[in-house]
Symmetry: C2
Subunit: 336 residues, 2 copies
DNA sequence: TCAATTAAGTTTATCGATAACCCCAATCTA
DNA sequence: TAGATTGGGGTTATCGATAAACTTAATTGA
């Protein structure tokens, strides 16, 4: 590889002079400057960012850790982060933890040794706490995305899950539903707890008693509780609507319902959090739509501000609203 | 940050001794070894991979450039690449070119300055040639994924698009269709040309004349030619089936058909390349399903072999078959 | 028993780039 | 016209880790 020294030799100057030309610092005559630039082009010189990072003590790289690279919510978020990072002169190192703590730990180790300047962290669950501790211990700035981790105060960009959930459930109630099930992600994830809280809010506001038999805890990657769903449907007073904790849960749920011969929305309404992206033929779900792209973009902004110290010491907490989008997966309950 | 020198001082040994402990090289007594290891843990030492890369002249990082991070085909491919890379001890730097040459060039520049050990490259189009030249000039090994670039011999992992397309179209023909339209990606992309070729093969094999008015060139990200579709439908002898070049084209196409009041598959059959991933409620499309995960995994394997010189000089060309999966988007043509 | 090994470390140079400081001649200034 | 300034550049040390060569003391072998 061509180095700064090769250029220097060719141009009959010192390496320092070349460095100054590259960085536009110091005093260099216009003549030498253009001569050196020409030689750099001819020799296809590209600065070695490793060497530069070593002395400057910054890599201009940020890391984005997401729990599910196949979920459109997170890929859209990733695009937002990527665009923002590029615009601010940073590269983005993606990581996909697959909702697994083990994989997440491997990524954290990698992040440390790569000496990225900061991390955008969408935690696998509350148990990610130690990983955040590790980052803090090494003084690597980070911003939590989408999911909060109790006991870890820091900059965050989250959605208003509680409010979004309330709106979804009140929408169902306004359609006439009284028996509403909740198929949720793991309660070890903050958004799942918030969505549960919003669900409870809506029921309380409308004087509907919470019935634990209608609550089902699965996980955000796949809907996994077919048997429980079945027994729920066999209840003397079965639900007429389901609120699914996220998009993939809703998809899994509907697949199961189809298998069981339950028609949506005629026999069962289904609503959920998060859109399904471009890969869906017929926007079908009534959803609380979150601005995924903004999550990423604002997260990067916050992170870079923090890295540059261009912000106040207090932790910034950005809460993005979600929008209720009514489509055809929700309808009034079947007549008795 | 804690360095190897801090550890050395604490342990009363030279930095080199610590380095040897880290890398398990040289002769170090078991006593000193464990003492140093303990100190490293206590001080939370993490090796600086920049410094290491600088001297070793390798980064243990690979780069994966994909054209559309929102497409399930590519995210699945990315997961395959990620898993394989991790398994082989490499980190993966993702890049998303968004099918744009400009963005692609930015990534190539970044790749060069980051000194990654190799690149998995899914080219935006044939016009990506110069970018490959740049990589070659700097002697960075690369493997082309999914899309070939004419005039650039190298290791590749591609799908058998031609054969897959033929199977899809012959499936339609076997259902009784004779007027079959092709809604394709840009012909500047090799897969689109191969799929066109497969389409032609199928027609020829079945003595059906190719009709240019049934050919529509769009792009793989979104279906964009509503007007042309409309006029195609108003032909005296309109198509009864459409072969879409990829999953997103099929989705866009069906949305348009729904708008126009054309029912699928009753009035129009639709088949396409590539699955739609987990985000789809009801697997609906008849597709040529490609092993996306394998694309990524085998690409990494090929790349690492090439980097390590553990392969013969000839270019390896892996062609993965696709599988015809018949579902409900295809049916016999409507009766006259 | 004495040279030859070996075990266990240490010293020095290096990767590529940059910060901080130094140097010299030309120009300016009072 | 002597001293100060400045334009244009060079020297040296440094970032953190490692390879290669070098020390020493202990052990081995014939």
């Amino acid at each position: 590889m061509v180095t700064i020294y090769d250029i220097a030799k060719q141009a009959n100057v010192s390496a320092m002079t070349v460095s100054k030309v590259i960085n536009n610092t110091g005093k260099i005559s216009e003549k030498t400057r253009s001569r050196i630039k020409k030689i750099m082009e001819e020799m296809n010189y590209v600065p070695n960012s490793m060497a530069r990072s070593l002395v400057l003590q910054e890599t201009k790289m940020l890391s984005l850790l997401i729990p599910d690279i196949t979920n459109p919510f997170f890929t859209t978020l990733a695009r937002g982060a990527e665009d923002a990072a590029m615009r601010l002169g940073y590269k983005l190192l993606f990581g996909n933890s697959d909702e697994s703590l083990t994989k997440e730990k491997e990524y954290v180790d990698m992040i440390l040794s790569t000496r990225v300047d900061g991390v955008l962290f969408s935690a696998a669950s509350d148990l990610s706490g130690p990983h955040l501790q590790t980052l803090r211990l090494h003084r690597i700035p980070f911003v939590l995305l989408d999911r909060a981790v109790p006991g870890h105060e820091c900059d965050t960009v989250t959605g208003d899950s509680r409010e979004g959930a309330r709106k979804l459930v009140e929408h169902l109630i306004s359609l006439g539903h009284r028996r509403i099930a909740l198929v949720n992600g793991s309660l070890a994830v903050s958004t799942a707890r918030d969505r549960l809280a919003g669900y409870n809010d809506a029921l309380k506001l409308n004087d509907i008693a919470v019935d634990d038999t209608l609550l089902l805890e699965s996980n955000y990657k796949h809907f996994e509780d077919g048997p429980l769903l079945r027994s729920m449907l066999e209840l003397p007073d079965p639900p007429t609507a389901v609120f699914a904790g996220n998009n993939f849960l809703a998809v899994g749920l509907i697949r199961k319902l189809l298998e069981l011969g339950v028609r949506v929305p005629e026999q069962m309404s289904v609503v959920c959090f998060d859109d399904l992206g471009a890969s869906v033929i017929d926007p079908f779900f009534t959803v609380a739509s979150q601005p995924a792209y903004q999550f990423g973009a604002m997260g990067i902004q916050l992170l870079v501000d923090r890295i540059k110290g261009a912000t106040t010491p207090e932790w910034k907490k950005i809460v993005l609203p979600s929008e209720l989008v009514v489509r055809s997966s929700s309808a009034p309950p079947p007549a008795e």
